[in-house]
Symmetry: C2
């Protein structure tokens, strides 16, 4: 782990990331030592840090630290945390902000291959996502809703929980974005009031037309395909939700899976060249 | 500072309090070495830790650590943080949770006496409170909304910012609960969808009948009195909000201020006996 460039595995208790969740994070797949979608992750971090009024990020420095950490990482997960640094007690931020930048490498979670090939079982969570346009979309450190939702089940045959907002609109998974296909059209939730705008979600928007709209669990009942995605798992077909089975050979999910694999390979090959 | 009973001023980066804001806190006034409203604070911590499915708190241990820390503290602020401990990457909590318990002493913030005697100037914040009944009321570590609201002003003539929810209902201050008086009746916001149920707020409910209801900034225009409260400042009259001046000699605010001072003195004297 690197904390502001130094090898450390602790931070000050008075760090505002700990005191208030005053910061952001990114979770990046490392494939054959190469961080995948790195520019997109750093762009989001940069954009969200502006929304939180954090000082300008030194992207060159961040790049060089990532390079250093990933040199021999193989396949792994890189987590970047950026906080408003240390400060006294109280919500008011210090006049001079010295942000804290934490890079940590984690083992790549080797999920069973069937999750990718056959799909997963999902459930609907009771814990709801609160609504707040000021914070919506950002991958910030206030993640109690996801923690509470993930604590709802321990059954290892269920791989993801679908979260609704307090008005029962379907928004996303606890750790993923959610899409569904009906009659050849791709739909997902608009994330203006809650949710996290994932990097894979944004990549999918560049591949195919997507309709962002409000929808409910009942709207998923007669969907042709449902899938979830994030930067570590890629894209997983949801083969079962609420007792309904979904499968579509050569469907949009599978096409996107293949395109995503190809995109990742391209990034690895390009980096090695 | 005491981290699980040991003198430390750092915590592990992998602590879930830092990774996700997965925890709670309490802010307690220490007056002449005595923690004020200690039982009420610990009861709230205990109740909220059950809502977050945290392991049962060892209250005897917590009591003895607080006693140790406050022995020579004089007038100070004690902050207690309780988190779900350390865990791997991912929202899922570990099978065995070893919570982290942090006690820290801070200097008592000596605000100008006029804040107490004459009142303060407040403003209305742009940052809104999101709605989520699952988390409402708790003093949890997800506090980005308060941080963003407090970052809206730097003008030291303004002492508190009033926060509305996303439906424009008045809820509370960035660091306080808010009450108002109209024709002899005391009102405050219901905190079932957002907000923190403060200890002084609960104490006020025991002193006088309070009507919890939905209200808007316009409803404050013809209020007779407005005040804000928390465990450190006690009760401050709001003498100016949105250009409107409020003052009421021998009003409900002043009566509650005197009753609160008397209650605190009683607790100090009782503890010394």
């Amino acid at each position: 782990m690197l904390v502001n460039g130094k090898q450390e595995d602790t931070i000050a208790i008075m760090n505002r990331g700990f005191q208030y969740g005053d910061g952001l994070f990114e979770t990046i797949e490392i494939l054959a030592n190469q961080p995948i979608f790195l520019e997109q992750h750093l762009q989001r971090l940069n954009k969200d840090s502006q929304r939180l009024y954090l000082p300008k990020i030194d992207l060159d420095l961040l790049h060089s630290e990532i390079k250093q950490l990933c040199e021999n990482a193989g396949d792994a997960v890189l987590k970047i945390i950026l906080t408003r640094g240390t400060g006294g007690r109280g919500y008011r931020q210090p006049d001079e902000i010295q942000p804290t930048r934490i890079l940590s490498l984690h083992p790549f979670p080797h999920y069973p291959k069937t999750y990718y090939s056959d799909g997963i079982v999902a459930r609907v969570c009771k814990t709801r996502l609160g609504l707040n346009p000021d914070l919506a979309g950002m991958k910030h450190l206030n993640r109690l809703e996801q923690v509470m939702a993930r604590a709802e089940w321990n059954d290892d045959t269920i791989q993801e929980g679908i979260m609704l907002d307090i008005n029962k609109r379907v928004i996303e998974g606890t750790m993923t974005n959610l899409f569904y296909v009906k009659k050849g059209t791709l739909f997902t939730a608009s994330l203006t009031l809650c949710g996290i705008t994932g990097i894979i979600r944004s990549w999918i928007f560049q591949q195919l037309p997507v309709i962002e709209h409000d929808f409910f669990i009942d709207d998923l009942r007669d969907a042709d395909e449902i899938f979830v995605c994030n930067s570590v798992i890629g894209i997983w077909n949801v083969r079962e939700l609420n007792g309904v089975h979904y499968y579509s050979e050569n469907g949009i999910t599978q096409k996107l899976q293949l395109a995503l694999e190809s995109e990742k390979q391209k990034q690895v090959v390009y980096a090695i060249k």
